[in-house]
């Protein structure tokens, strides 16, 4: 694989990461926010695999494996929180959570 393509992967990853990040910052629906976090994680995964390829190292793929596990755990807990939240106030957005501030 050409090195330019590797760089292209990294750029794609950067763009995707920023898209995800901006999404977290501007969306209010907690589920969409979780999805945007997933986007960011995927961008990072992509760059991990690319770096692994560039360095000819399998560890890049291994760490993606772990990122996926952590992402799964994160989603499970996040969704549980959203369920708990929606039970108390149907249709609540992340902004409504500011009632929790001290």
């Amino acid at each position: 694989m050409g090195s330019n393509l590797s760089l292209a992967y990294l750029m794609l990853s950067a763009i995707l990461f920023v898209i995800g990040g901006v999404g977290v910052l501007i969306r209010r629906n907690p589920l969409v926010m979780i999805m945007c976090v997933e986007l960011m994680l995927n961008a990072v995964n992509l760059s991990f695999v690319t770096f692994g390829k560039m360095l000819d190292d399998i560890s890049g793929q291994i760490i993606v494996f772990f990122v996926m596990v952590v992402a799964a755990a994160e989603v499970v807990v996040g969704l549980a929180l959203i369920v708990a939240m929606a039970r108390r106030r149907p249709g609540a957005t992340a902004d409504d959570l500011r009632t929790l501030r001290g």
């Binding site: 990040g21 977290v24 910052l25 501007i26 969306r27 209010r28 926010m33 992340a94 902004d95 959570l97 500011r98 009632t99 929790l100 501030r101």
Partner: protein, 664 residues
């Protein structure tokens, strides 16, 4: 065999741990037997180790158990230094402690916190053993604090009574002054030698600069007078009698209070290396304490108070011995004193127990018929402390006086006067308790009323301590008024220790008989530890005979005087029992007055400083934080997205910063 030495402190520790966790469940009699067993086994181990120590070179054995504080070049190990000095201490500590544990089973019978009492006692024995066995100053200090804590726990054991609780606090706070000195001494020692291990720094002591040695010795002396109740820090010991009597016997007579003497003997090379006024100071403080306490003891009515002041007085003798270079004499007297004073306290405890918690001698008398065993053993103790040959006290006191004479005749003379007073007040005690008329029960009401009125006026302007006495008196008075007290002899667990101790009180003198060098067992045994700095006396036969005869005469004179005053009633006791003495030279009241007057102003000044400067700084920080926060609160708006955005801004800033730092 000597390798078993670690078992000596480990056994009481095991007993302590067992009792602290399961004491309540183990219950009354068994908890006592476990505690006693642990200490008794420790004593047996000590004997075995003692036998093993004979074969060691210089009778010294060192063992490092494990590293405790390895910090750079400051290393403190949990290590054991077993030499003749600590061996002697260990033997009499475990031995007497075993007996007192046994005694306590009888004495504490029926107490609601029976198991806890033995928990504390075991912890105390463990701490005391750490104190004497520790191979460095820090470990000794650990034990030092441990015994202090146990002493506090046990003085205030019946903390429901406010006097007991405050007596505990008094002991604790007074000891702090001494502890401060000890700690400074430890720091200075490390500063001067780079180590705090005895075997490392003591041999270096002769090469030390005199000023440094003087300072360390002075600070150690401050620590020692705190623990061993010398002028001016002796005020806590009489109050410490608020604790159960076995505690008074074990901690405040036989073992803990001798820790200061032990410490000074242990560091004798440093005293030798310090300025020549240090030994003089020690000797003067010692003899002054001995004399002062003896005069106070003359006028006390509480049987335990008399013994307490007597203890202070005897400790003064030991300090005198240290000051005049008679280290082995100090240890000798420490051992004999441990026997006879423990015996006296336990005897007093037996009397108190038999009299149903009555401590006032004015309500006793003629008890020898009712409590024969107690009386006989107590009388042996009396003869020992009074210095009547051939009982042990005679030999040890005489030994000290011989060293004192060698140093200065003045010390000798005051020492003799104190010996006279000792014989007098101890005889007074014995005559009033065991001889004369029985003043317990209804028959003595009239006399009592008189006496009470007398003390009440005394007590009116007295301090808190005497208030407590007066309170007790009136309390006991109503008790007596209800019906006759029926004294009885104590049970066997209390009597067995009395008998054993009486035997040793009578015979312990053989440890160090002054007639030939061959008979001075203790001197030769302690030679490796104190030999270099010990004053070597070679008394000729004539001088020895003269001294011994003089001492005997003095002792008999004191007894005779007491006989005249208290049994024959030729002289009015009130001419001797001056209020000045009864109130302990008004030292407590003086301190109270000072602290309430000038001292209070000073404290208020300090409190003001505390309020304005220190609190002001603290509050100021708080106020500044609150003020800043109320302005910063604007950005804490509760929107998760906003926080995330701030993280993003931070990330951008960091990336930008990194980009300026890295060249591509």
């Amino acid at each position: 065999m000597v390798e078993l030495v670690w078992l000596i402190p480990a056994l009481p520790l095991a007993g302590f741990l067992l009792l602290v966790f399961f004491g309540k469940r183990i219950g009354e009699p068994r908890a006592g037997w476990i505690g006693t067993g642990a200490v008794a086994l420790s004593f047996v181990t000590a004997c075995v180790v003692f036998a093993g120590l004979w074969n060691e070179p210089e009778h010294t054995f060192e063992a490092s158990l494990f590293k405790w504080i390895p910090a750079g070049n400051f290393n403190v190990d949990i290590g054991i230094l077993l030499d003749p000095l600590s061996m002697a201490m260990v033997l009499f500590i475990t031995g007497i402690a075993s007996l007192i544990h046994l005694y306590s089973i009888g004495y504490m019978h029926g107490d609601s916190r029976f198991p806890r009492f033995f928990t504390y006692l075991n912890l105390f024995v463990f701490s005391m053993l750490v104190l004497v066995l520790g191979d460095n100053l820090v470990l000794t200090f650990l034990g030092w604090e441990g015994v202090g804590a146990c002493s506090y726990f046990l003085i205030a054991f019946w903390f429901e009574k406010e006097e007991n609780a405050s007596a505990g606090k008094k002991a604790f706070i007074t000891n702090r002054v001494g502890d401060w000195g000890f700690m400074v001494a430890i720091f200075m020692t490390f500063f001067a030698f780079g180590t705090v291990t005895y075997t490392e720094f003591l041999p270096m002591a002769p090469g030390l600069a005199q000023t440094t040695a003087t300072f360390i010795a002075l600070m150690l002396f401050v620590g020692a007078i705190g623990k061993s109740a010398q002028i001016p820090l002796f005020i806590w010991l009489p109050d410490a009698m608020a604790g159960p009597t076995p505690v008074s016997a074990l901690i405040h007579a036989a073992t803990m209070v001798t820790a200061g003497v032990y410490l000074l003997v242990r560091v004798n090379p440093i005293i030798a290396a310090s300025a020549s006024w240090i030994p003089w100071m020690i000797a003067i403080v010692g003899i002054a304490t001995a004399f002062l306490a003896a005069t106070i003891a003359l006028a006390q009515q509480d049987i335990k108070k008399v013994l307490a002041y007597s203890t202070v007085s005897q400790l003064g003798y030991m300090f005198l011995a240290v000051g005049v270079g008679g280290y082995s004499a100090a240890i000798f007297h420490m051992i004999t004193h441990a026997f006879f004073k423990a015996l006296l306290f336990l005897g007093a405890g037996s009397v108190i127990h038999g009299m149903h918690e009555e401590q006032d001698m004015r309500r006793m008398g003629a008890l020898r018929r009712i409590m024969p065993v107690t009386a006989v053993t107590f009388i042996i103790g009396w003869l020992a402390i009074a210095g009547v040959p051939p009982f042990s006290g005679f030999w040890s006191k005489d030994d000290i006086l011989a060293y004192a004479l060698h140093k200065s005749p003045i010390l000798y003379v005051i020492g003799l006067i104190t010996a006279l007073l000792t014989a007098f007040y101890m005889s007074r005690l014995v005559f009033r308790v065991f001889y004369g008329d029985s003043r317990w029960g209804e028959s003595a009401e009239g006399e009592l009323a008189n006496l009470n009125a007398h003390t009440a006026t005394d007590a009116a302007d007295a301090g808190a301590e005497d208030h407590a006495d007066a309170h007790e008196d009136s309390h006991a008075d109503t008790h007596a008024g209800h019906g006759a007290v029926h004294p009885h002899e104590s049970k066997w667990p209390m009597l067995v220790p009395l008998i054993v101790l009486a035997f040793f009180a009578a015979t312990a003198g053989v440890l160090n008989l002054p007639f030939t060098e061959n008979l001075e067992f203790l001197n030769r045994w302690l030679e490796p530890v104190v030999g270099e700095n010990q004053v070597h006396l070679h008394l000729g036969g004539a001088q020895l005979t003269f001294e011994l005869l003089l001492s005997t005469t003095i002792a008999l004179l004191g007894i005779f005087a007491a006989y005249m005053v208290y049994l024959k009633k030729k002289i009015d006791p009130s001419r001797i029992e001056l209020p000045f003495f009864a109130n302990g030279w008004y030292i407590d009241q003086g301190i109270t007055a000072f602290m309430g007057g000038i001292g209070r102003k000073g404290f208020e000044l300090i409190a003001m400083f505390d309020k304005v400067v220190i609190d002001g700084a603290v509050n100021g920080v708080g106020r500044a934080t609150r003020g800043g926060a109320s302005r910063l609160r604007a950005i804490e708006n509760g929107y998760v997205r906003w926080y995330a955005l701030m993280i993003g801004v931070g990330a951008v800033l960091i990336v930008a910063f990194v980009m300026t730092q890295v060249s591509f």
